[in-house]
Assembly symmetry: C2
Homo-oligomer: 181 residues x 2
DNA sequence: ACCTGAACACCGTTCAAGT
DNA sequence: ACCTGAACACCGTTCAAGT
């Protein structure tokens, strides 16, 4: 059987999407690939390594918004992508909150936010802090929505929540801009 | 052996604190109580029920800030309590994002935030929305900090992040107040 | 280099039985 | 009402062996 790390991560994501993260076992992933469980270990280390790889995949599937769009528009696109990723993989998604934001895919995603914030006029020395707070909020929001914490609220309510949050941030940043005029 | 739901949840939390959530199994909890695994089922339903009970416990251990304190102070106290709870139970904590915020303990915690926001002058019809956004941010922040997402940042940096976030919220809300003056 | 077979020490849960 | 014993269908992982 021809297997490699990429094929293993593909199979894992497909399995998680079809039957949930609880159904993801070394044995089930191996069976899906027509291989014995032990064949996976060479490629992903162990089960934790498999899950780390899957989380990294999720981050790498986030879009790279067109640089010609307005900064607000780019942030909204990233936020929307995060929400739909969370909905597709609710259990994998929360793992994002459980590992250092220093992996390659994590850095790539962060750079996009940095660029949008800088273009929006956030002073250079504040960009990392604002990124941490905005990303933390969005991860919490997307995880909550996909995880069912907001189950009793309509999609419209949550969309309005998010729009309000963007206004608050814009207000805080716009304030910084105005002070430079 | 005399066992009941409370004793089971106590044993589970102690086990999670000592050896991590991965060490929490029906069998391990039962062994700690000197009982067979099957004895637990009558009291907690199944493993999911056990975990639900533990999450509820965490929420119920949050403090009830003194109503005589300034609203800001009360929110800071709740935020601090959330952070230390997350640090003590990082894996249990993320489960908060995975279940509806409609359990009794969840409602009790929410009422405290409602009261603080109302006392801070947030218009009544905005209180639920602001609570959702503030709580979502705090859950995401505490989970990230405890889960290691901010591993490369110092405690001082994170404290400053949080203080900045509070300023942003105060700015947005203070704005609402000022417009009524 | 890469995959397999057999084995070890675990899981959650059901079901019938005991007291 | 509450706990037990035995059993079923699973886990992750190691290790020696095969090609």
């Amino acid at each position: 059987m021809a297997i490699n790390r990429d094929a293993i991560l593909d199979a894992t994501l497909a399995l998680a999407e079809e039957r949930g993260l609880d159904a993801v076992s070394m044995r089930a992933v191996a069976a899906r690939l027509g291989v014995t469980p032990m064949a996976l270990y060479r490629h992903v280390g162990d089960k934790q390594g498999l899950l780390d790889g899957v989380v990294e995949r999720l981050l790498d599937e986030l879009p790279s918004p067109d640089a010609s769009l307005a900064p607000d528009e780019r942030l909204r696109e990233l936020a929307g992508a995060l929400r739909s990723t969370a909905r597709r993989h609710p259990d994998v998604f929360v793992m994002l909150l459980r590992r250092p934001a220093t992996t390659p895919a994590s850095l790539r995603a962060r750079e996009r936010v940095y660029a949008a914030l800088a273009d929006a006029g956030v002073p250079e020395d504040l960009v990392p802090r604002v990124e941490r707070l905005v990303s933390t909020f969005m991860l919490g929001f997307a995880a909550s929505e996909a995880g069912g914490r907001f189950a009793q609220h309509s999609r419209a309510t949550l969309d309005a929540d998010l729009a309000w949050a963007l206004e608050v941030v814009r207000g805080a940043l716009g304030g910084g801009r105005r002070s430079a005029e």
